[in-house]
Amino acid sequence: MTKNKVTAEQKLAIDDLVYESARRIDEDRLEEWTELFAEPCNYTITTRENYDQGLPVALMSCDSPGMLRDRVLSLRHANIFNIHLTRHVVGNVQVLEVSDGVFTVNSSYAVYQTDPEGASTLFSVGRCLDEVVEEGGEYKFRSRQVIADTWGVPILLATPI
């Protein structure tokens, strides 16, 4: 249960941000996806294996909006990876805490990948631990920590989760 009261309106806006992030990635609108982050921001994909042991190395970690945009630019122009479609299934969105205008939000995800032959496989399952803030009337991620239960990455990880 939430320690501080969250209004229905706020909860709707937070839900919408979490779902919007998934949709922009699934629709391969990664440049627009980076716009969902505040300045400054943090985005990391770590694994439960490392997280639970308190080990700092992540799969992907961006500690500034510029670094996040660099990652997308590199995916677009530099990196070679398995051709795939991405599909998020997101749920259990819950505001855990509100403090000084920062909403701590937890959600669960499953990401499926579909290859060019039409075969779909579960790529990753885990949770997101977010810090959401309101910036100029919009809700944005100040921090998004993806904690993947699936710590054995199938093939490679290119597209953000």
């Binding site: 080990l55 992540a58 670094m67 945009r69």
Partner: protein
């Protein structure tokens, strides 16, 4: 070539070409070859990397590992000595260790509670004398005839290796003085683990071995790397081999080329029509590439492949071991252990963590290897009698080279592979 039988019947045909410049595609997808590799390479006269000593910080700690695909538990006993045993109960074969790491005073099989000490010695069997005179083990049952299968263990500079064979040469001899010198460089002081990652790739493990012995692909496949000057084929560098040619180390020195050589570095078809300037990205936040120079030899990239299955890397300030674990002819696992030095300050550790974006399963300069090896594996159907071609750098002697446009070290691996596998190499030049 025809596949040899695991019962000892040798290949009917020879490995093609005396210069090892052809690799029969069979070796990447035959189950028989895979089984024979387990017997002759992983259970043979080789040292397999198991773990870092830093992962077993105190008596009673253990960690799971493997030799090839054979599950192993590595322990540190009460006296501080390191042991490695096969993770398989001598009773009915269940895994005796279910956790990946931890601390314990012994290994107990959950199935029937057979108990082993940290050396793998069987210390107890429940109901050994039966209950009320009924049942129990035979009177001549001896605990010491049922110890866990133990490996011979040898450590060098904090790296733990194991072998099943009595014929394996001493570890330092097996690695050779050239590789020892490079391990001395990377492991010049105690390390600490910063994290793990694992990648499961639908490809044969040897495709990855070839990949990490091949400097030719680096500036062509890994464009992020090339573009930011951490590594280009025009950089000063080379490939160092040990005397046998089974191990190799690719190294490159950052900042050793100039604008006049960039044209040739970017001459691949992917860049045709593009000016070199256009192919270089401008990072909004270049902090990902910044870090102190830690080694005074100027080497910015070092990738060692220690046959059969260990990569040791230094790329900038990132340090890691990568253990290559074969699971099936068409599936290997790459297990990354990232480390820093025990005396790193917070700033240096943060720098290693940030640069870790470059490597690993999502690495900006390493993710492509998973795809490249997969692309080879997916085309292997119907390739009987066909082979790949290794001629970059010529077909001459297999030796250390002082440039990065070479596949010589891959031929060196195959020469040794044939030796371990008992394959006769053709005397034919063509």
């Amino acid at each position: 070539m025809s596949t040899p039988k695991a019962n000892g019947v040798e290949a009917q045909q020879q490995w093609p070409r005396a210069d090892l410049s052809r690799v029969p595609y069979d070796v990447y997808h035959s189950q028989e070859v895979f089984n024979l590799e387990r017997e002759r390479i992983f259970e043979g006269a080789t040292w397999s990397y198991l773990a870092l000593e830093a992962e077993l910080p105190e008596p009673g700690t253990f960690i799971v590992s493997s030799v090839g695909d054979i599950p192993v538990v590595v322990t540190r006993d009460e006296e501080g000595e390191i042991h490695a045993v096969v993770n398989r109960c001598k009773h009915r074969g269940a895994a005796v260790c279910r956790e990946r790491r931890g601390k314990t005073d012994g290994l107990t099989c959950v199935y029937h509670q057979w108990r082993y000490d940290l050396k793998g010695k069987l210390t107890g069997v429940p109901f050994r004398r039966g209950i009320k005179g009924q049942g129990g083990m035979p009177k001549d049952f001896k605990l010491d005839e049922h110890n866990l299968d133990a490996l011979k263990v040898s450590c060098y500079r904090g790296l733990i290796f194991g072998t099943f064979s009595d014929e394996t040469p001493p570890l330092e001899e097996f690695l050779g003085k050239e590789m020892i010198a490079l391990l001395d460089r990377v492991f010049h002081k105690p390390v600490k683990v910063l994290g793990y990652n694992k990648q499961v790739v639908p490809a044969n493990w040897k495709l990855y071995a070839e990949n990490t012995k091949d400097p030719y692909h680096a500036s062509l496949l890994h464009l992020f790397h090339a573009t930011f000057g951490l590594y280009r084929s025009t950089l000063k560098g080379g490939v160092t081999l040990d005397e046998s040619g089974m191990h190799s180390a690719i190294f490159a020195k950052k900042g050793t080329d100039d604008e006049s050589t960039l044209g040739s570095a970017f001459s691949s078809t992917r860049f045709q029509g593009l000016e070199a300037e256009d192919t270089r990205f401008k990072l909004e936040d270049p902090s990902i590439l910044s870090g102190p120079v830690e080694f005074d030899d100027g080497i910015s990239t070092l990738i060692m492949y220690l046959f059969p299955s260990l990569v040791v890397q230094q790329i900038g300030n990132t340090l890691a071991t990568r253990k290559v674990i074969p699971h099936a002819p068409d599936k290997f696992e790459l297990y990354w252990t990232y480390f820093g030095y025990a005396d790193d300050d917070a700033e240096l550790e943060q720098c290693r963590v940030k640069q870790a974006n470059l490597i690993g399963p999502a690495g900006l300069i390493s993710m492509e290897d998973g795809e490249a090896t997969r692309l080879v594996q997916m085309t292997l159907q119907g390739t009987e009698g066909q082979h790949s071609v290794l001629e970059m750098g010529g077909r001459g002697p297999i030796e250390t080279v002082d440039h990065l446009v070479s596949e010589t070290s891959i031929r060196g691996m195959w020469e040794n592979y044939c030796r371990f596998m008992g394959y006769e190499v053709s005397h034919d030049e063509k």
